[in-house]
Each structure stands twice: as structure tokens, then as C-alpha cells.
Symmetry: C2
């Protein structure tokens, strides 16, 4: 099941899967989740795109000498789960802020789950400023990435503004 979810999450960009609240108006406490495993190809592709040549992502010896199990996934690539989760449920969401605390290394091939929870909702000029807690876990329970995001949503109804 986990594997199927992951595949869906990777290959069906918009509404792969979501929490049970996805069919109703967003409210405080609602949780949105998506899982992903970052592959070697993902890391190579992201390195090219971001021009990030940090050897921790390419060189196993360098990564091990620095105290890691093996090569690392770029932190910002892991963090890309958060806007993806928010935008896949609320297309047209505009990012206002994101804080990121990298707590544990993410190695290539590890199963990562992004968990986004609405913690505050304010309506201003017919739009919604929503604060989310944003966390990534590996092996279901190890917190690897922690933080908060704020986004402006055009609507609290999931998927409604999709073109």
C-alpha cells in the first residue's frame, strides 16, 4: 500500500492522494500528506537544475567522511514536498514564507513522508492566509525536516481553482 501510494504520488502530479479531509473545506487541524522516495536520478537532475555541486550529493566517500551513511538528498529538494502538497490540494496557492530546520540527513532511496497541517486561517479580501506546520519524516516516525509555511489560498475548497 505504501509503495502504491508512493508511485501515485510520483506519477500523478496533481491529486495523487490526500487526507480524508481533502473533499471538504480546509479547516484548522486538517492534515495533508504525500510520500516520496528521492532516487539517484532525482538528485542528479536536481543538482544540474540548481547548479549545486556539493560533493555530499555525488561522492559517497565524502558523505561518509562527513559522518553520513551515504550520499545525501539536497535539503531544498526534500523541502519541495511542502509547496507541492499545498499546491496539489489548493492550486493557485501563493507562497509567502517557509522556515526549514534540517534535523536529520535524508539519504538517496529513503522513504520520506511530507506532512502539512493547517494551524491558522485568516480571510482577507476574499483570499485566505493559511499558516501550516510542515514536517518530513523518514521511516514513518523520524523527523528529518521541520518548519512552518504561510501561503495565500484563492479558496479553501480543494482543487476548485484548477484550470
Amino acid at each position: 500500500m505504501m509503495h502504491m501510494k508512493r508511485l501515485l504520488s510520483i506519477f500523478v502530479p496533481s491529486f495523487g492522494f490526500s487526507s480524508s479531509s481533502a473533499s471538504s473545506r480546509l479547516k484548522i487541524g486538517d492534515i495533508l500528506k504525500q510520500a516520496r522516495t528521492f532516487s539517484n536520478a532525482d538528485v542528479v537532475e536536481y543538482s544540474k537544475l540548481s547548479c549545486d555541486s556539493n560533493p555530499l550529493h555525488f561522492d559517497s566517500d565524502c558523505a561518509r567522511n562527513a559522518g553520513f551513511g551515504d550520499r545525501l538528498v539536497h535539503g531544498m529538494l526534500v523541502a519541495s514536498l511542502f509547496p507541492r502538497i499545498i499546491a496539489s490540494h489548493y492550486p493557485g496557492a501563493v507562497y509567502v514564507s517557509q522556515s526549514l530546520q534540517f534535523r536529520l540527513p535524508v539519504h538517496i532511496g529513503e522513504d520520506i513522508t511530507g506532512v502539512v497541517q493547517a494551524t491558522n486561517i485568516r480571510e482577507i479580501k476574499k483570499k485566505y492566509i493559511v499558516k501550516f506546520s510542515t514536517k518530513c519524516f523518514k521511516n514513518d516516525d523520524q523527523l528529518v525536516l521541520d518548519g512552518e509555511a504561510t501561503a495565500i489560498l484563492p479558496t479553501l475548497e480543494p482543487g476548485e481553482s484548477m484550470g
Copy 2:
């Protein structure tokens, strides 16, 4: 000159160009800069890689209806400039935290300059915990992205730990 710098920055991943302090030990106040223009191809590639299907990145009408000039570059792709700048000068740098305040939209094709400045340096167990202010500007003076990063550097000598 700006154009040449940008090309260098895009096609020479590791040490494209840097501040005048790049050949000396990092100290508080030192500034590292790199410029980049995100293309349509960059945005399409990043969307695929991150599975982010927000129409603001694909659909000009959607972006204009939301009040923007045209399609937006993903905020996290713009933010990738910061770890790239830090790691290109200090290979082996490990990211601890990053805060991001998205102040102005970044449209496809706009000239963006990432500016990273060391604001605090602490030595612990022969490594260096360095706090940086991290900013991106467009048109040289408009602040589009603001925040702070903390990274652990293996050394304060630029490029020394490159494999």
C-alpha cells in the same frame, strides 16, 4: 559583463564567480554572490522533478488573474540559489536551517542575484557553524526573497574540501 557573469554562473557549477573575499578565510561580513535567470525550461524541469503542478507556473492566464505579470518561478527553485552559493564556495557544507520570506514574485526570464553574507561564525569540534543572511534581488535592487541560513562548514577556506 552581467550577461557573461550569468553564463558563467549557469554553466560553470562550482566556482563560476564569487566575491573578492573568495580567496581568503571566511569572516563575518563577507559577501558571496551569484546571478541567474530562470528560464521556461528551468521551470518546466523543476515542476517535473518536484511534481509541483501549481498552475501559476504553467498558465499565464491563471498567473495574470491572480495579479502577477505572468508565470512565476517556483519559490523553492529561486531559494536553491542559497545552498548553491554556499556549497560552491564551501564544498561539503551541511545545511542546518533556512528561513524564506517571499517578498515579490519572480517571473520567468527575470535577472535574479543571490546575495549571501556571513553574520556569525562559531567554531565547534573543528567545524564551523556559520549563520548567513540570504537575499535575492531582481533588477539589482528589488528584494524578492529574504531570510537566513545556518550551515556547518568543514573549513573556512574556500574550496579546500573539494574532492
